[in-house]
């Protein structure tokens, strides 16, 4: 396996189009553990990292390190969800498995951009390709990123999470169109071990954290990958989403919403709905657009679940459902700006 400069590897991963290594690809765990050491600035230097540097470090750790643990997500309305996670990376490819420990039984396997979700209760497997899986390509080119324009970050302290020392980084929005975050970043690797989403008052809307974690665990990549075989008799569903552009479908925003860039658009043909996705680098918004149906589309309004908000509204002959981890005002801005162009 030829060594790659970290930046190059990041960009290749970001494109999600890794050429598979030619020939059989055997992994030696020792090699995985000997992956190039990530930079470890001393505490005084860490104080001065820019937001892009903090985030790049966090993203790197989540992609490059092998780890396993139990993850718990809690919402401000008291809801809780938990899962076990295994993640293995050999420096180029990533394999990951997430098993829900609460709610519907679900096992999600990801191998690079291929995702299989197993639902044992219905003996169904959902198959899909996901782009930009937690990858924000712009971070590879910090200068281009919009994040520093809309957020600031500074280290506010230290704490211990799941047995690891972590820096606490407070990320605050510069305007009211997005939420703030408090991120616990493991000191040596930068891995995010705890994350809180904060509203404008600093109240915690949602919290996600490892309750236990083994970093650099000997997670076996091939075993994980082997588990992705579909068992006999299970039904395979491919997600029906077809990539398109908003313009091609006749939609546009009169005014962009500050900081949010259009990422992708999908047509879900079976449901007759268009999904237009935006992101400001940390938060994302989906605009779902479908034909207005008097029978089904009864309630306009705003709903919330933890940090995720939903807004429904009629726009001309269409029905719009805006969903995102953003304040309701942002969703309102999107819904008011959306228009049909033909």
């Amino acid at each position: 396996m030829t060594p790659h400069a970290p930046a190059l590897a990041r960009r290749r991963l970001a494109r999600g189009a890794l050429a598979l290594a030619s020939g059989a690809f055997t992994l030696m765990i020792t090699q995985a553990l000997a992956a190039p050491a990530l930079p470890d600035p001393r505490p005084s230097e860490r104080h001065e990292l820019s937001i892009s540097e903090w985030l790049a470090r966090m993203q790197d750790a989540s992609l490059k390190r092998s780890y396993m643990g139990t993850f718990v997500v809690s919402s401000s309305n008291g809801g809780m969800a938990s899962a076990r996670i295994w993640h293995a990376c050999d420096g180029q490819r990533q394999v990951e498995r997430i098993d829900t420990l609460s709610g519907e039984k679900r096992s999600t396997f990801r191998r690079d951009d291929e995702v299989l979700t197993f639902l044992p209760e219905s003996k169904t497997v959902r198959s899909e390709r996901r782009e930009a899986l937690g990858l924000f390509p712009e971070l590879a080119r910090p200068g281009d990123s919009a994040i520093p324009e809309f957020y600031t970050a500074r280290r506010v302290g230290s704490d211990r999470v799941a047995g690891f020392d972590a820096d606490i980084v407070q990320v605050l929005p510069k305007d009211g169109l997005r939420f703030g975050y408090r991120i616990w970043s493991e000191k040596k690797s930068g891995l995010v071990v705890k994350l809180q989403t904060l509203d404008d008052q600093g109240h915690v809307l949602e919290q996600a954290a490892f309750s236990e974690l083994q970093l650099d665990a000997p997670v076996r990549m091939e075993r994980l990958a082997h588990m992705m075989a579909v068992p006999e008799g299970w039904r395979v569903e491919k997600t029906d989403a077809v990539k398109t552009t908003a313009a091609a479908e006749g939609w546009a925003l009169r005014q962009p919403v500050a900081g949010f860039k259009s990422m992708s658009t999908y047509k879900r043909r079976a449901e007759g709905v268009l999904q237009w996705i935006f992101s400001d680098g940390l938060a994302s918004v989906s605009l779902f657009v479908e034909d207005f149906d008097r029978e089904r589309h009864l309630r306009e309004g705003v709903f919330a679940s933890g940090a995720t908000h939903t807004l429904t509204r009629r726009v001309q002959d269409s029905w719009v459902t805006a969903v995102g981890e953003v304040p309701p005002a942002t969703l309102r801005a999107f819904s008011l700006s959306l228009e049909r162009r033909k």
């Binding site: 055997t26 992994l27 030696m28 765990i29 020792t30 396993m68 139990t70 718990v72 309305n77 008291g78 809780m80 938990s82 076990r84 295994w86 498995r97 098993d99 829900t100 420990l101 609460s102 039984k105 096992s107 396997f109 197993f118 044992p120 209760e121 309750s211 236990e212 665990a217 000997p218 997670v219 076996r220 075993r223 994980l224 082997h226 588990m227 992705m228 075989a229 579909v230 068992p231 006999e232 299970w234």
Partner: protein
Amino acid sequence: MTKTPSAAPAPSSGDTDLMLVERTVAGDQKAYELLVIKYQRRIERLIGRMVRDTDLVEDIAQETFIRAYRALSQFRGEAQFYTWLYRIAVNTAKKALVDLRRDPVVSESSLKGGDDEEETSGVENELTTAETPETVLAAKEIAATVNSAMEALPDELRQAVTLREIEGLSYEEIAEVMNCPIGTVRSRIFRAREAISAKVKPLLENQSGKRW
């Protein structure tokens, strides 16, 4: 509209758990039994997701409640009781997995790159842990029964129990929303629960010892 004169906030379930813990520590083991019954199924489900072997699930769950009982005097109520119990369950299950070398993904001797004893174990073995078609069906039947019983309730009973269970409102808050005395709230919630559980109870314990 009645409003309680005192400013004390209504205790939530979190406080019930804490009170039950205190009472157990004060010597009333029956209080602990109530906690066990309350959380036993959820804990078993949690463990069932981590451990493949059905027989082992109950054992680990039992072990979890024993360890929690031993550590009870150290529970200070700074976290929710279930969160604390949850951690004990995960640790107990992990320990069992390690003892039995059954974590499917982690290799004990990491340097022995080579080969797997077993097959390509495939997801099916991994995922169909503690459930059989019968237990899945039983759980669905219970859910269906609750839902149809809910729909059959008079509006004010359904609303009261919904505000309590789903919205998590206190009796005081429900009294305000529904514009009635707290005693009425308590009575409505109770009557709703009675009506629904009358239909559910037959499904809960079909045969002693059997899983549902």
